[in-house]
């Protein structure tokens, strides 16, 4: 790849591939983009498609590149564009005024009229009018559409027309689509102007290190921080390559890591000690904060408390998150629903009837093969009669089949613990499904002293 094709931010002879050191480890991509952009007045390919995983620097590279070289551009996030109208008006009202403005200036909008536009034809017409009047005239105008996969759900003409914008307007316009999914999944209908596809690969571990070391606090030694990052990566790299997540975790846990150094317990060179101090803490973070079971704020608070009072054993993993307070009969109804969902109907008699039939040897054999299949396949649908039958056989004492019981069933449905499959009323024989997990039902059964495992066919 030749570098002399780079656009003329005229004073600099050779393009700065780190874009003023804002972008790291994306040399090849920056180079490719620069050579595709060419000189300011050159015709750029009509459409570019930039794709890669989450947090691989797609938006960062494109945006920094455009604003660093002061190229006229418009940034749009397609998630914000609920209708084509929003997209059109955003583009039309944000066309940069002069070539040197790196951000479209929105302050002038009060003086000027807000341009309205609600269909593709008038969008193309107005865009042609506006752009050909602007002082940057012949320069390429870049329209960057982030999260472009949303465009597929927009109008059917949207994606083909945006990809062909250069041809439709007859102007030097380049549409850049940024997305996390591959181009094949964008295709539909008949015919696209195929864009130039540019892939952003994942950062390697080494590159992640390099980038994460950038945000070392000024108070901390660089060496020490890079060691810390190394530890963080050794714990989290197996499960997470997302740069944003890793940076967040590194920032969150850094005070805990640095604490022994600050308090003088350990030296900055005592790697082993620091490692032994932080590692269990990070393992705990992996279980709780990475899954967002505790919020970052809570985590920081807990960390603070733990640092102040190390002996205090905090219960960091909240096992109670799946606990709901339910009325007594509702609990039994829910247990009955769970049993009905996960037990085959032909074994109901064996579990719930007084004089269960003999279990033959053969059926035991068959059972072996079927074992655990019900919990893998998910809940089955059951009619309300079966639910009530199981309910009456497991509940203690005599329960009157009053309106209260049926109301409780429908309130379980509205709490999304059950789901109604069909039939709106009692007369139409409604069918239900149980939507809760085994852990949940076990904790509920424990509160009413009911051994639910004894009744589950899969666990016999």
């Amino acid at each position: 790849m030749e570098i002399d094709l780079a656009p003329e931010p005229p004073s600099e002879g050779v393009a700065d591939l780190t874009l003023g050191s804002q972008v790291r480890c994306r040399k090849y991509q920056v180079q490719t983009l620069l050579s595709l952009f060419g000189q300011r007045q050159h015709m750029t390919p009509g459409a570019l498609f930039v794709y890669g995983h989450t947090a691989t620097g797609k938006s960062l590279v494109v945006q920094t590149l455009l604003s660093y070289h002061k190229l006229p551009h418009i940034l749009i996030n397609c998630v914000e564009c609920s209708s084509p109208r929003v997209l059109f008006e955003h583009i039309l009202n944000n066309i940069p005024q002069n070539p040197d403005a790196d951000i479209p200036d929105c302050d002038d909008d009060d003086e000027e009229e807000y341009i309205q536009c609600d269909d593709m034809t008038s969008f193309v017409r107005q865009l042609t009018n506006i752009v050909s009047e602007k002082p940057f005239g012949e320069q390429t105008l870049y329209i960057v559409l982030d999260k472009a996969e949303r465009l597929r759900d927009s109008h059917i003409f949207m994606l083909p027309a945006l990809l062909r914008l250069q041809e439709l307007t007859g102007l030097n316009i380049c549409t850049i689509l940024i997305s996390e999914i591959v181009w094949e999944k964008f295709r539909f209908g008949t015919g696209f102007n195929e864009p130039y596809c540019l892939h952003f690969p994942d950062y390697s571990r080494h590159e992640l290190m390099e980038i994460m070391c950038l945000d070392s606090p000024s108070t901390c030694d660089k060496e020490l921080y890079s060691m810390y990052i190394n530890i963080v990566l050794s714990v989290f790299h197996m499960v997470c390559r997302d740069l944003r997540e890793l940076r967040h975790l590194a920032k969150l846990n850094f005070p805990y890591f640095i604490e022994p150094v600050l308090s003088g317990e350990a030296d900055a060179t005592q790697t082993r000690k620091l490692w032994r101090n932080i590692e269990p803490h990070l393992k705990k973070a992996l279980k709780s904060v990475y899954l967002r079971e505790v919020s970052s704020q809570q985590w920081e608070k807990m960390q603070q408390a733990e640092l102040e009072n190390p002996d205090l054993e905090q219960t960091l993993t909240p096992s109670h998150r799946c606990q709901v307070e339910l009325p007594y009969y509702s609990k039994f109804l829910l247990i009955a629903a769970y049993l009905a969902s996960y037990n085959p109907m032909k074994y109901d008699r064996r579990f719930f009837a007084k004089n269960a039939g003999k279990v033959s040897k053969r059926s035991k054999l068959v059972k072996k093969n079927e074992r655990a299949s019900n919990h893998l396949l998910g809940p089955k649908v059951f009619p309300i009669d079966r639910l009530m039958a199981i309910f009456y056989s497991i509940v203690e004492g005599k329960v009157v089949p009053s309106a209260h019981i049926y109301v409780q069933i429908s309130s379980l449905v509205s709490l999304h613990l059950l789901s109604q499959v069909k039939g709106e009323d009692r007369i139409g024989m409604p069918k239900y499904k149980c939507l809760i997990t085994l852990d949940f039902i076990r904790s509920i059964a424990r509160t009413v002293q009911f051994d639910v495992m004894r009744y589950l066919y899969d666990f016999l």
Partner: protein, 402 residues
Amino acid sequence: RASSRTPQIPSRSGPKATPGNDLEEARARLHVSAVPDSLPCREKEFSDIFGFVESKILDGTGGCMYISGVPGTGKTATVKEVVNILQSERDEGNLADFTFIEVNGMRLTEPRQAYVEILKALTGQKATAEHASNLLNKMFTSPGPRSVPVVLLVDELDLLWTRKQDVMYNIFDWPTKEKAKLIVLAVANTMDLPERMMMKRVASRLGLTRMTFQPYTFRQLEEIVASRMKGLRVFDGDAIQLAARKVAAVSGDARRALDICRRSTEIAELRSEEENIDSPMVTMGDINKAVEEMFCSPKIVAIKNLSVQEQMFLKAIVAEYQRAGIEEAEFKKLYDQHLTLCRFEGVHAPTMTELAAMCYRLGSIRLLLIEAGRLDLCMRVRLNVSQDDVMYALREDEGNRS
């Protein structure tokens, strides 16, 4: 500046000069828009319609007539001809005064706009659809003492269909009113339209005066072309007959026959320029060529001109169909088949991305019927040509190459 990459029709400024030689003259006469004064082979239909309309005008009553026939059998032309003759009769003073209105369902943006059109033609008034229908109702139920009969031609009747069928109902209901002097000529393509689409009360108001235009036989087509070519010696004796027979075998559409003849004159002109003949004649060969151009499916030509990998993909599809016995396959199965084929042929196998691009290309030129790309591997693919056509096109291709 940006260049257009989509192919475009070259623009032409100004009309073409008047015909210079016989072939150009023939082309001008064969053009579909050059409707002749007399329509051959439709004398009986003409006299029927003429009699119907004339008697109604003379009696001062109203009525409906339903005219059906496949496209290109001269329905609209015949009705227009009838109205022309009637109008000239009226101008000579042999017939009572009447007004002629034409409504074409295809030209209306919405069925109810028919009211607006009719009102505008009758009185020059502009009104909304609802208001117009009220005015028309009033006009036809209690007409003034000096009202003239109205002849209403409703072309492309099937497009006036609405869920409540109120437009059709009103148009057929007005003539049945006691004092309304409205004669409706409804034209549509299908014979059983009243039974199929209309409610009973609409169909009964349409009445039983129906007329069907049969497709032209080859003799009639021959006569039509010959009548247009009167006085010109351009066609070989049997050339017209061949064209007529070919068209009559497929559809019996006069427009199609005229088009074939026109195209064959162009072919003849090109041929004569190459061979330097002064007064070219259109031969059977030219007609044959034109027929081939117009009736042949372009799909086989398209398949023959595909790239090697794309042809191989089509072969893979056929192989997969034959293996599974179903005329539909998922993309992942086709990919496996394609890889196997590539290995057999010793060709570099494409990646999944490349093959998906090929599949999409074939889908967008409609050789395949495919689903949206977001289903990727589970996308179901069907052939839009018969398997035999694919095999035929590809076998021939191999023969040429070797």
